[in-house]
Symmetry: C2
Subunit: 153 residues, 2 copies
DNA sequence: CCCCTTGTTCGGAATGATCCGAACAAAGCG
DNA sequence: CGCTTTGTTCGGATCATTCCGAACAAGGGG
């Protein structure tokens, strides 16, 4: 209870800001702080008082985004859900993709703007900066992998 | 009219995904591709067919977020608006702040979760990773500044 | 002192997203 | 073949956000 359900709720509004729905965010929060490392749908429904239909779409979307994995133990009849092995890395990659879409937007802008240099300068800067970031981000992830390994010892 | 208005609209939905409103996003798009580097409110209202009340709140919020600057030429009676000098950098810093809030969320989780190691491990990983990113991000911005200067020559 | 311009605030309408309960599809078991 | 369990889809209700038009404040000429 208690502190935990507060945390779940907080995670809900948190992830909501990132484009997930409230319940999707709550599921993330619950799984992040869960006693077990996976749960089935009825459990999650009861845990956060949500209709199973809503839970169905929430889980499916979390799965599609790559934050949650769906699996089934052999012989079992219902699916179970757990955080993807690389949830955080996944979230970062999503951010990176966002950067790349920004670069794309800048390029679309350059395509429609004329050739007035002053007008192009801003968009070129935008394209270059987001391009730079999209390029460097994977390296940062690699570096994190190394640091993580190092800290583990 | 033309490609440009299409671009403005596209920018609208783009920035909407980032938490701005549609019209706020359109303003960003218009300023990004504008012939002049600033505009006043009536101009923007006419340009994208929006009530001046809506434009008022949109501009104020863009100003508060730091994406747009409000200024007035001496002797003039109405405000003008332009993209902040460091729009993109500003946007990146906002992202970084987001990372830091994530780290905070992880810490709140650690505070409410017990001391079951398995349960703490995930949240600790989350805290460390977002902490790492929040730490490295400013360096990336510095690096971009250098690269930008270098390319300029 | 009055009026005109500029910008903000307020109440209500419209739009969109989310969520629920119920109906539906699929699949395994007896 | 039924029956049960599990998961998805659908229509409608609810809720939040956005936007508009009108009223309101502030300030600067004349």
């Amino acid at each position: 209870m208690d502190g935990v359900s507060g945390f779940v709720e907080e995670a809900g509004v948190f992830y909501e800001r990132l484009g997930l729905s409230r319940t999707e965010g709550r599921v993330m929060g619950w799984l992040l702080s869960a006693p077990e490392d996976s749960a089935d749908a009825p459990r999650l429904c009861g845990e956060m008082a949500v209709a199973k239909s809503s839970m169905s779409v929430a889980l499916r979307r979390l799965e599609q985004v790559g934050l949650v994995e769906r699996f089934r133990r052999p012989g079992e009849r219902r699916d179970r859900y757990r955080l993807a092995e690389d949830v955080f890395e996944q979230a970062f990659r999503a951010k990176m993709a966002e950067f790349d879409r920004f670069r794309g937007l800048a390029e679309r802008g350059l395509a429609v703007v004329g050739d007035d240099p002053a007008r192009r300068a801003r968009l070129e800067l935008m394209r270059d900066m987001y391009g730079f970031m999209a390029e460097r981000f994977p390296l940062l992830l690699d570096e994190w992998d190394r640091v993580k390994e190092e800290r583990r010892r």
